[in-house]
Amino acid sequence: MKADTHPPSAPASVRSFLAELLAEQSRLDTPVARFSHAHDAASSVSQLSALAPQLIPLTAPSPGEQYAFEVDLDSCTGCKSCVAACHSLNGLDENETWRDVGLLVSPSRARPFTQTVTTACHHCADPACLNGCPVLAYEKDPITGVVVHLDDQCIGCSYCVLKCPYDVPKFSSRLGIVRKCDMCHSRLAEGEAPACAQACPTHAIKIVTVPVAASTSFLRAAPDVAYTQPTTRYVTQRTLPENLVAADAARPRVQLAHWPLVFMLTLLPSAIGFSLASLPLAAWLTGALGLAASVFHLGQPLRAWRIFLGWRRSWLSREAMLFGAWFPLATLAAFAPRVPRLSALNTELLPLAATAVGLLGLFCSAMIYIDTRRRFWRASQTFPRFLGTAVLVAATLTAPILAAILLCAKIGLESRTCFDRSVSARLQRGPLKRIMGLRDLLGVVTIVLLVAAPGAHNLIPLLAGELIERLLFFRAVDAPKMPGIPTA
């Protein structure tokens, strides 16, 4: 570096010229000054409405029908304008997209093939997001079938993110809620095409009227239609190869940890374990911590009082109601014996009731995950894991050898998910192998201690191990999605 560092030696003329140029640079013409495109209103509206008949139906759906996206795979070139236009025309946050473009590839040597796939909400006939929402923040429009999300109703529990097999609802940490594609239903109501359809240079995206049922031409490499009955139609004049795979399938994605849920789902089963071991005060304290942890999971906790609304369909709603009932029972069970004025309540029934309600709550907790139909979260894994924690806590305090045997069995059961070709197995053997190793180490230490030095202190390694197991439960899950593009 030999940059001369003379003091500013610019002549006065340069300095005043600079001031002038800087002033000019910051001057913008205001709309009244020029280019007020008076003609635009006429010319471009006509263009929008000229396009509309090609892109959207001219009449409302009849009963038993709904609107759906139709994607012409033969016209889609993968330009991705649909994603950017949706983002701009709907005013989404900077990093928020409601549409994605993925890639399907054929591993065949004989017939090289790739296909780009644009995908947004499939406005399912049986929407999993809607079915799982504990506060009824999703509604399926009775006429158009559009699945609309009520942003001001949402509590930000993200359960819909877990329920949707297409990775459609996206959590916004700025807003503390999820948002998703609404098929631009207010545009449709005015005879205007959705942003993505308007913006597609080859008109590959249209809105069509279909029966309210699973699409008859869904994408082969996408998650099974039986679960939610997606309505998007992917049409092609060609025959796509049988063996298409998503371009991002090769590298499984490690999922979010959801730390508040990890703590909650370790602490609440432990509380029930203490109940089973007739330690109501410990049960109350652990349970209170677990419930407190759950609050941190919500993006909008102040709206959570509506959580009972979804009880007819949502296991999350049921879980919340049961633990909502459990907590006063557990409180009474813990404190009634200590408060003389409450001695009337001091019966054998109270702890029993608390334990029973807590076990039912745990059953719902497990069902929340089983109901997502993710393989890693199947009943034969989730029930033993969640209820196992409760039983292990009780056994550690009352029957350490039994606890050691049960823990052996539980770890054996967990490790069954590591040794196949599933996404979860690849994750646990790959990017998560250290966490997996830690879980096993803690398990072995606990087993040895349970045999060699029984006592309440063994709860520490036991619960540490259970906490790590619950972390793996979230991080290693096989989250389904539509085909994507290769990522890191």
Partner: protein
Amino acid sequence: MSSPLDALLHARTGPMTANMVLHPSEFGLGRVPARLKPAATTTAVCGFCSTGCSLKIHLNAAGEAINLTADPDYPVNLGMACPKGWEALTPLAAPDRATTPLLRRNTGVPLVGSSRSASGSNLEPVSWERALAAFTDNFKRIQRDHGPHAVALLSTGQIVTEEMALLGALAKFGLGLLHVDSNTRQCMATSHVAYKQSFGFDAPPFTYADFEESDALIFIGANPCIAHPIMWQRVMMNARKPEIVVVDPRLTETAQAATLHVPLRPKSDLTLLYGLAHLLIARDAIDHAFVAAHTTGFAEFAGFVKQFPPARVAADTGLPVATLERLATIIATRKRVSFWWTMGVNQSHEATRTAQAIINLALMTGNIGRPGTGANSITGQCNAMGSRLFGNATSLLGGYNFASPAHREHVAGLLDLPAASIPEQTGYAYDQILDAIDRGEIRGLWVIATNTAHSWVSQTRTREILGKLEFLVVQDMYATTETAQLADLVLPAAGWGEKEGVFINSERRLGLVRKVARAPGQALSDFAIFKLIAEAWGCGDMFRRWNSPEATFQILKTLSRGQPCDFSGIRDYAHIAASGGIQWPFAEVGPAVPRRPESQASQTRSVSKIPIHLATQADSGSQPQLPARERRLFSDGHFYHADGRARFLFDPPRPLPEPPDAAYPFLLLTGRGSSAQWHTGSRTDKSAVLRKLAPTVLTLEIHPDDAHRLAISSGARVNIRSRRGSAEAIALVTSTVQRGQVFLPMHFEAVNRLTVAAFDPHSRQPAYKATAVAINAV
């Protein structure tokens, strides 16, 4: 439904809901959220690629851009835009914009070799006065010690034409530089040279309507689905059931949409094109009348291509003879055949002759000057065409010739300059400038709106060379580009949307760029920076008439007058805006059209009186002429050589500069990876949306057989080595690439560590698409 209880339980309204509710917006935009409702709109041509789409910019009451949509009224894009266009405003708001000049802290240690790299943290903010002093003091010192040509300039295809012209004039006439080149050397130099030699002027003949009016579209080394999606839109609008042929070693997105994919061996296209000429001659599918009336050299060419019988061509290209025959049949039998090429042709060791082999096919079959025909180069950067005419690098401003005394005289007269200030020869090309730095002949370099330390070939050596400079000035929107990080002085530039001027697109259409956003901090338009430097250098008087972009545009009109690119009939910016852009030529009509000087050195024919461009209306009162919206060249068969004839130009094919061998058994192809990425990503990487739309990691496409042999599966990490460097990538196993070939997208910095430094001898364009590499699993 709406009982008080229901309203309490179901919050169907509220601030978050209201925030997303769409309202009518006027201006023909349909419905948008209330917070994005514009107070007015204006239009601006997009600043990424050469398609030249018009974007409708939504302004708030203060005149600031708040959003944009594609412009439905513009003849180029007809209401569509690609994701880069949709996101055009986002990179302006990036947090790493350069907001003040930055000067390298004096460490007392000379920067040699790679010690310059990763030293961007030594750049500290300084005032413009100090920056200008550093610029002039250092460059003048270098010129004093090592001669005026020891300072060189690398410019760009990304700034407006007025800026290019001012820069070219300032550099050569004001600062006394000789070696001036730009990044258009990396994309369009081949087309420029090929057209100039074949037609007599750098004149892409087509208009986008030709995509729609063709019976057969033959794309050679072009992937418009990804690289030019809005041009592909026009192909899709073709209602003539055209044959779409894609000549490309890879089964690209475009190849998959084609009716015929011709997967030739990389860089065997010259042989293929000569072989097709041979077959067409054998079938007598020649437009003899056109060839006789409008071309020279056909007989020699016909004799030459006898060496390319189908058997040889099949052997050299790896294509079956049946494919050659089918291609020849398409060209011979379809009425309107158009040929389109991009970087697959331009970036080659024999690029110019390949482009001319395409031109030869169009000429010999009479597929030029008619709707749906032409030998058509699809340009890369938004203003590569402006750079080709007004960069003042290889051609004198306005497409004139530095070597011609009459041309120098003429330009000097128009610019009020002493003719002696115009150099008599052209300077070094990009690669020669770097070589001259390497041997110490050039000591100072000024880089504007390009990213040499990422985009040039053989990065290890390139960075070593840049490290040898005594003073490196980088003028850019961002101080974070790989090149800016190496600079001694960074000048903060306003970007697209923060200044005004004219871009010229692929089909010769002049379109307007408008100032709709404030540049951050002390960033200034490139135009203002050039004016400041002229002032600080002491040559400000030379450019008094260039006092604004629009005043400069009027100067450029006079420079174009009488040239093939004559646009003197354009009145002003408002005329361009009202016409949906205006294609050159658009000469002033009337009795007083000054003629350009004719001289021996001038080998090109004046076209100023040919009224092919005028719409039928002849009302030329105070209203300017409105041109026809789509116009093509050569409908009269007259080319720009002095004899009015096009040339058949050809040379024997040459072997690959670096063929695969035992040590480096694969051939690496590079190219555009996705429609969401632009070149080195200095702008597109600033948009969260665009980042989502492209792979976030370098991905190597490799054939299943090769992957199997090397025990590589999709998603596995692989190492790629060439004789010059190595890169790590994630494998994507796909048979869209052929055996023995691999593909990497150019948008990742690691890629050009691998690429070979080989150049076309005529255009000096680097051959990015054929490097021998070795691959292994990590």
